[in-house]
């Protein structure tokens, strides 16, 4: 029996009798993940030409620490995008997490052990509200999360009266500043987080459901997947991870500001897309996203080190994003993949 794709024109991809390999799509994802990782390494090594101190372990540490915020944020963004949505409320929720952590908990509050989870719960509630609007009121995700973002920012402004108070909780500071076994704590945390995130997205039944829903909601519903719950889940997870990223930011810079999350919105989307996910959902891996996030951070570090004026740096940054997109095109990997077979 031959194998054939009967999708019209675009993706006609055929496989003849005597197949011996795994699906083209699976390998395309793997290849793109590797490609992103390789690109990171190449960039880091190439940076030595710019400054001899670049490409050192200490720069890698810096990249990993600074990249950890983006990784955590884009984990949530990635899950939402996986189900075909988009979360524009990430910056606002990250800020919410940061502000609540400093306001409710403060530096050395013994109640932190239950207050911090409460902070994350509050963030999760925002995610739940977004999801409720999307699932039950059928508002497009783009609009719902945009509106939530405006609402949360506005409430935060009112709540703080414009002045965020308080200090970073000790736990958050320890997480971002501590050393464990000679390694910076955030790096170890990042490794653990990536592992968990990967397990969740690629190896858990929830991850499977999300892929199924992102591919085709109706088919997933008919197949008996818990569709409603699984459409809500990514927004809640995304909000909680954004809240956590807010906590990390607070721990890193020992205080919260009202616009602390703003600069992460576009990068979080870019990281997911560069990592090989489809913005339409159903495709992409967390490892790819991690690669995308690290790539963007590496790029930022190196570009900072070049003594160019800001405009030119911005142009270079945009160009590299573009090149990454062009290099990571699916067709390209199919071609590469077919060469390897």
């Amino acid at each position: 029996m031959t194998v054939m794709n009967d999708n019209p024109i675009s993706q006609a991809r055929f496989q003849q009798k005597g197949d011996t390999r795994r699906s083209a799509r699976v390998s395309a994802e793997t290849v793109s993940t590797f490609a992103v990782a390789i690109l990171c390494v190449v960039l880091l090594l190439g940076a030595r030409f710019i400054s001899p101190s670049l490409g050192s372990w200490s720069q890698v540490e810096t990249v990993l620490v600074l990249g950890s915020f983006l990784v955590v944020l884009s984990f949530g963004q990635g899950l939402v995008i996986l189900t075909g949505g988009l979360d524009l409320s990430l910056p606002a929720v990250a800020t919410l997490g940061g502000i609540l952590a400093t306001n409710w908990v403060g530096a050395s509050d013994p109640a932190a052990w239950y207050l911090l989870p409460l902070v994350l719960l509050a963030c999760g509630c925002v995610g739940f509200l977004s999801a409720a609007g999307i699932v039950w009121l059928k508002v497009p995700p783009f609009i719902m999360t945009l509106a939530m973002s405006i609402i949360v920012s506005s409430l935060l402004l009112g709540y703080t009266k414009g002045t965020p108070r308080g200090a970073a909780p000790d736990i958050a500071v320890a997480l971002m500043k501590g050393q464990v076994l000679g390694l910076p704590a955030p790096v170890l945390f990042l490794v653990a987080f990536v592992l968990l995130g990967w397990l969740f997205q690629s190896r858990s039944i929830y991850g499977r459901y999300l892929y199924a829903i992102g591919t085709n909601v109706e088919a997933a519903r008919i197949a008996g997947a818990p569709v409603t719950a699984m459409r809500i889940l990514p927004y809640v997870v995304s909000a909680v991870s954004a809240g956590f990223a807010g906590l990390m930011l607070v721990g890193y810079s020992s205080g919260a500001t009202l616009r602390m999350g703003d600069s992460y919105l576009l990068p979080s989307i870019a990281a997911v897309v560069i990592g090989g996910s489809s913005i339409l959902g159903g495709r992409g891996t967390f490892l790819g996203t991690v690669g995308g996030a690290i790539l963007l951070t590496t790029l930022g570090t190196i570009i900072s080190a070049i003594g160019l004026e800001f405009g030119l740096r911005t142009i270079i940054e945009g160009a590299i994003v573009l090149v990454a997109l062009l290099l990571l095109r699916e067709e390209l990997f199919q071609k590469l993949g077919s060469l390897w077979r």
Partner: protein
């Protein structure tokens, strides 16, 4: 079908409720006392310590007798978008404002609207940031030479040579440009000074910390940092890195000043100067405006310079109370957050205020408005900043606070 109807009804109710809620406050505003001056406080954005302190002290002053009976103050935050502020100004003018105290988002975009307001008799007082429209009053430290003075202080601390970072503000912002130009003017005189990295920190502690960390990865051997607001983040990045500290010049955050005065940090090599943008400008602008409105002062629209705060490491002095008293200029760590901008208080110009006024916008009990000194300092021309078609003074970058100690 029933559920659909229900949903429709709910949506309709919500929409109605939103409209009702929108109307409500208008009615709640109640009958107006005709004698009160209608003053608007127009911010472009809010959300950092500097902006909210500047806004809070205006609110506190407006609630301090006798202004509490004279002034009806409304705060409007329009967002980081010139268009939105134009729209806000239009609305204020239409609403019959007597005066607008504002942090303008753009030096030029608001001009047309301001001009229309002036024609209708509205007083415009800009604080910190400025506009080039000549019918507005600009109250600002911008012409006081923050960039060049702090740069010279750094050069002095480094003995005229060393690798330094420039931690700048918001890209594409004229204030940032003015400061950086001034600083570069000084650095250019010293061939031993090498600017190894120049990055934008968006006047924000967290961004400064991250950007400085990035720069440190490339240049761990940096010997000094010239920073604008957000300077405390630069120190944190240095601390994160471990090892020694270096001379840092920056603005007026409480955290930075405490660090400058901390013997442990000094031992690691930290020194520097705290100068830069004081939120107190807004209070000064407001009081000036009120004096003009109440006829206590005659002043044609002009640019007024607010003196540059200048606190070298050895002059940092901890305050025991709620105010700057006896030359103190920093508050204990547990009293205010590290991002608190200390120069919101000014014992001469704004004796009515204390920390609570800055943090919460509340008036100080028993305080009354004190008259301002009669003299004002006229600011020098800064083309594109406080005047449109004008020449900069020849000695634009002359040093006022510090003299070169190296050649």
């Amino acid at each position: 079908m029933i559920s659909t109807l229900l949903k429709t009804a709910t949506a309709a109710l919500l929409l109605g409720a939103a409209c009702m809620a929108a109307i409500q406050p208008a009615q709640a505003a109640g009958p107006k006392d005709g004698k009160k001056y209608k003053i608007y406080l127009s911010l472009s954005y809010s959300g950092n310590a500097w902006q909210s302190e500047a806004a809070n002290i205006v609110k506190a002053l407006a609630a301090t007798p006798p202004y509490n009976d004279l002034v009806e103050l409304k705060e409007v935050i329009s967002g980081a978008d010139p268009q939105a502020q134009i729209s806000a100004y239009e609305s204020m003018i239409d609403a019959g404002a007597d005066g607008i105290v504002s942090f303008p988002i753009s030096a030029t975009a608001l001009n047309r609207t301001i001009k229309r307001g002036c024609e209708q008799g509205v007083l415009f007082f800009m604080y910190d940031a400025t506009v080039t429209e000549s019918c507005a009053y600009n109250v600002s430290y911008l012409s006081s030479g923050f960039g060049e003075n702090s740069a010279q202080a750094l050069v002095n601390a480094l003995g005229g040579k060393g690798k330094i970072f420039l931690s700048r503000g918001v890209p594409g912002n004229s204030v940032d440009q003015r400061h950086t130009d001034g600083a570069k003017h000084i650095f250019a005189k010293y061939p031993g000074i090498e600017v190894v990295s120049e990055y934008y920190s968006f006047w924000d502690d967290r961004t400064t910390q991250q950007e400085t960390a990035k720069a440190l990865a490339a240049h761990p051997d940096v010997q000094g940092i010239w920073a604008q607001a957000g300077e405390y983040g630069a120190i944190q990045a240095l601390l994160d890195k471990g090892g020694n500290l270096v001379p840092v010049t920056g603005e007026n955050s409480n955290g930075f000043r405490l660090a400058l005065a901390d013997p442990a940090m000094q031992a690691k090599g930290l020194t520097g100067v705290s100068a830069g943008s004081p939120p107190a400008q807004s209070g000064y602008a407001f009081k000036l405006m009120m004096e003009i409105l109440t006829g206590k002062r005659e002043l044609k629209p002009t640019n007024i310079e607010y003196p540059l705060p200048w606190v070298p490491a050895d002059k940092v002095k901890l305050c025991a109370g709620e105010k700057f008293e006896d030359g103190c200029n920093v508050f204990p760590k547990d009293r205010v957050p590290s991002s608190f901008v200390t120069e919101v208080l000014n014992p001469v110009l704004l004796p009515e205020l204390n920390i609570d006024s800055a943090l919460n916008g509340t008036p100080v009990k028993g305080a009354t408005i004190q008259p301002l000194p009669a003299e004002i300092v006229k600011a020098a021309n800064e083309p594109g900043i406080n005047c449109a078609r004008c020449e900069a003074a020849k000695d634009q970058y002359k040093l006022t606070k510090v003299a070169p100690t190296v050649n």
